[in-house]
């Protein structure tokens, strides 16, 4: 297929790609093929019905899957919308390097947006708390970027199995002129008939991966040979233990008083900002091992991301304000 990136060369082992491919494409539609076809349908609908679509690209594994689905949806044409990355400036350096290389490889236009004003004012999760920091660097930044680009539909990689309030969100999630979600006033969504009608300055968030689970995403990455950021693979990294999470240290200046980094073999289950994304101890340095690990210890992937834990229902509150 496409070029094999360094990440794959380092990390793929003996899993037999031919075997996997034949399993996926066996006559009857497996659940994964059904999900794929449904997602391609959704991505195409969004492009057919909105004048200014954009795809949110967070660099994570779900984004990588979504990007592959977009390639499939418009083949042999090019992806007909830009990718938008909301950069908080606190992302892992590996993520940024991967983003730039991969967007280029896929041939998609990449828009990177930062809330420079807040960053210059010194916004960071330590001083502001995660709620406020996310509000400024992600939510506000996202809304500004959507407004700047005049985008009326934003495709996002969120899955309903990630978190309780996401479980109730529509595939076409209506947002008012302020980008806000009103969970009690959602449009009913029947069959695969999506209501794309909006007034000026309103928008729709489109979630093609709504029905995928974390396992589906990993199986698909394996079966499709999709490149992912190396942080997902276990290796020895310098970490400290902070509030019960393993925090990867890139630079000693990130250390808080009294902390001493240790080398631990670990990996990320989901990618966010450095200060708020914990690593897990892991030996899983290949895709099959990651999948094996997922199944053997079941711990939701968001457990190590502080933002969902601030307060019961914190994700719902963020979403009401316009967060993805």
């Amino acid at each position: 297929m496409s070029h094999i990136t360094t990440a794959e060369v380092e990390n793929r082992d003996g899993a037999d790609a031919g075997l996997l491919a034949s399993a996926v494409y066996a006559g009857r539609l497996s659940h994964l093929r059904k999900l794929e076809a449904e997602s391609i349908y959704i991505v195409r609908e969004a492009v057919a019905e909105f004048s200014h679509p954009v795809m949110m690209y967070s660099i994570g594994k779900d984004s990588s899957v979504m990007l592959r689905l977009a390639q499939k949806a418009f083949h042999p044409g090019k992806i007909p919308f830009p990718l938008l990355h909301i950069d908080t400036s606190y992302k892992f350096p590996e993520m940024i390097a991967f983003r730039d290389a991969y967007a280029k490889e896929v041939g998609a236009q990449l828009i990177v947006h930062r809330n420079e004003e807040a960053l210059q004012a010194g916004a960071n999760p330590f001083a502001l708390g995660t709620q406020k920091c996310c509000g400024l660097l992600k939510t506000k930044s996202l809304l500004d970027a959507l407004a700047d680009g005049g985008f009326n539909a934003a495709l996002g990689g969120a899955r309903r199995d990630e978190e309780k309030s996401r479980a109730k969100e529509r595939i076409y999630s209506f947002r008012d002129a302020h980008g806000q979600w009103d969970p009690k006033n959602q449009r009913p969504e029947l069959w695969n008939l999506f209501n794309s009608r909006i007034d000026k300055s309103e928008s729709i968030r489109v979630f093609p991966l709504s029905n995928w689970t974390e396992l589906d995403v990993w199986l698909y990455i394996l079966a499709e040979n999709i490149p992912i950021v190396p942080l997902y693979y276990a290796k020895e990294r310098e970490v400290v233990l902070r509030n019960g999470s393993l925090v990867v240290i890139h630079d000693r200046s990130e250390l808080q008083f009294g902390e001493e980094p240790r080398l631990v073999k670990c990996r990320m289950r989901s990618l966010g900002c450095v200060p708020c994304t914990g690593a897990i101890r892991s030996e899983a340095d290949t895709l099959p091992k990651i999948i094996e690990e997922m199944i053997s210890f079941r711990r939701s992937e968001r457990e190590n991301r502080a933002i969902d834990h601030d307060e019961e229902g914190s994700m719902e509150m963020k979403k009401r304000e316009g967060y993805f």
Partner: protein, 576 residues
């Protein structure tokens, strides 16, 4: 070495199993106290679908409505309002898998005001679980839930007779409820219905067979979910391919992207493009992963055709052997979903497959009382009402009946002002032949004696009136082309063209809102001058001048381009 190899083999066979699993989508319905959320929580928990940390956060939650150690319903009630009020207010989707199968649950609330949520959850489900409280028996809600499941075409229905622990696992109670439920299912025409005695709080017969119901020999709930054949709601075996978009990266490639909603397509198959009715065949089935020889229901592909036919989004590629109905009048069952009641005669938008058209409900035949299933008369529909109605669209829809195809038999109605999705609709019968203008008058009722306005006529026809002057030889083809696009047409011939008669007939037909066609050479100069001067405010297209120099196709396309502008005219006047 051999152990490592064995592990790789074991893991590959595991992956193979994961990749080839099939998918069952089911919905759950039950009333507030039936213990539905508890049942799902139990199913997820016992099927090891609940992640340990989510379980941990439920354990430390301040609210615990159950008497047990863990309140399973908290696993599914996602929104704050729900946690506070202890009820489920919206459809929530849940995911779990077992070694055999992967599941998507649409968990829908059961209380009266949320019929629309159950219809939503049921619309994509292959199976429904209906909760029955063993201590209460079949309630009006049970009837309602079963009716909605049958209405939305769910082929398999399971009644989970819950709270068996509270009736001492009594076989007689179960048998009685089971008989009652089978009777109901038969009455509703549900293809397959079974009953399982369970206790969600105790975990009886959810995953493992209970020792307390030795008299029950059937499957546990999970066993049933894992083994029941995944049946599509309904399926015709003929190709239905609604075109989503045209993919044209360069001059060498022109493909039609979409999902095959019914049937199968093979390279070389003859197909018909609707609504144009033009025939061609499939040149190639294109995907990112390479071209395919054939593709079946559910697959998203791009089709290249042998001939250059004008096809765009909203058109449908179908099997020539069995084509869908093309009609702008039909009967449908509506589930009304908006707080704003239905206004008979008002213009809504209908979204059907990839096609959006204007639509009006011209009359309510009867409303169904969802608790008794009795037919009642109704002039309008409130939120959560279900009714059989007459529908008319501005352009024909390309449909099969809902009982034959969920994809091409369903549509939604959207309010063009609020943009809200106001109704779900299932097409019940094609009404193109039985419809006469007289019946429309009847069905709209004699409640109003006010005159019919030009705007109302515009809405009925989907276009404003106009006159086309054409070369006589092109009239028939032009009328056919206009008619195919849904225009109300009439051709003026013979006597009516004579001076003296002409304007009488013309004004009459024009005020009726028709697209009038006449041969230019048959009109005398006086009439033509008067058309230009006296009636300058009327829409008149003269496509006869210079007509000799263009092909008849070119001429027809000029007519169509002009005619399409008539769909917009009154829009502007109405300030929309």
């Amino acid at each position: 070495m051999s152990t490592a190899l064995a592990t790789v083999d074991a893991f590959n066979s595991f992956l193979q199993q994961e990749l080839t699993k099939d998918l069952l989508r089911f919905t759950t319905a039950g009333s507030v106290d039936d213990g539905k959320s508890t049942l799902i929580g139990r199913l997820l928990h016992d099927a090891k679908g609940v992640y340990e940390d989510q379980l941990a956060s439920v354990k430390k939650s301040k609210v615990n409505r159950s008497n047990g150690l863990i309140d399973f319903s908290l696993l599914t009630d996602g929104l704050r309002a729900e946690r506070e009020q202890g009820i489920t207010i919206d459809v929530a989707y849940r995911y779990f898998a077992t070694a055999r199968r992967r599941f998507i649950i649409a968990d829908t609330p059961g209380h009266e005001q949320y019929t629309r949520n159950m219809a939503t959850g049921a619309s994509t489900a292959n199976l429904a679980i209906i909760l029955v409280d063993a201590t209460k028996g079949l309630l009006p809600q049970t009837r309602r839930h079963s009716y909605i499941a049958s209405l939305l075409g769910i082929p398999n229905v399971v009644a989970a007779i819950n709270k068996m622990d509270l009736v001492d696992y009594c076989e007689d109670v179960f048998s009685r409820l089971s008989d009652d439920f089978q009777e109901l299912a038969a009455q509703l025409g549900i293809a397959s219905a079974i009953c399982i005695p369970v206790s969600a709080t105790e975990g009886d017969n959810i995953v493992d067979a209970s020792t307390k119901t030795p008299w029950y020999e059937g499957p546990t709930l999970l066993e049933y979910l894992e083994t029941v054949p995944v049946r599509e709601a309904a399926t015709i075996e003929s190709l239905r391919f609604p075109v989503q978009l045209v993919i044209r990266p360069d001059s060498t490639f022109r493909g039609f992207a979409g999902q095959i909603v019914e049937g199968r397509v093979r390279v070389g198959d003859p197909i018909v493009a609707l609504p144009s009715g033009k025939s061609t065949s499939v040149r190639s089935i294109v995907t990112f992963d390479g071209n395919l020889d054939s593709a079946g229901q559910g697959e998203s592909v791009t089709l290249e055709l042998d001939d250059e036919i004008d096809i765009s989004r909203g058109d449908m590629l179908v099997s020539p052997l069995r084509q869908p109905t093309t009609s702008a009048v039909f009967v449908a069952t509506l589930v009304w979903m908006s707080e704003k009641p239905l206004v008979v005669g008002q213009s809504y938008l209908a979204k059907h497959t990839t096609r959006s058209v204007k639509a009006r409900v011209t009359g309510v035949r009867h409303r169904v009382n969802v608790n008794t299933l009795a037919h009642e008369s109704a002039g309008t529909l409130d939120m959560n009402s279900i009714a059989v109605v007459d529908v008319e669209t501005s352009h024909p829809l390309l449909f099969d009946l809902y009982e034959q195809s969920r994809s091409t038999g369903s549509f939604i109605l959207i309010d063009p002002i609020s943009n809200a999705t106001v109704a779900a609709a299932m097409i019940l019968e094609d009404d193109s032949e039985s419809t006469s203008p007289a019946r429309h008058l009847d069905s709209r009722g004699a409640d109003s004696s006010r005159p019919v306005t030009a705007v109302e006529k515009f809405e009925r026809h989907g276009h404003g009136p106009a006159m086309f002057l054409l070369p006589g030889a092109a009239i028939e083809a032009a009328e056919r082309a206009l008619f195919a696009e849904g225009f109300e047409t009439i051709v003026l011939r013979g006597d009516s063209l004579r001076q003296g008669h002409f304007f009488y007939v013309f004004d009459l037909l024009y005020s009726a809102g028709f697209v009038i066609l006449a041969g230019a050479e048959a009109l005398d100069a006086e009439v033509r001058r008067e058309l230009q001067q006296e009636r300058a405010e009327r829409t008149v297209f003269d496509v006869s001048s210079g007509a000799d120099e263009v092909s008849s196709n070119e001429l027809i396309s000029r007519v169509l381009i002009n005619a399409r502008s008539l769909r917009l005219g009154t829009h502007a006047e109405k300030g929309e």
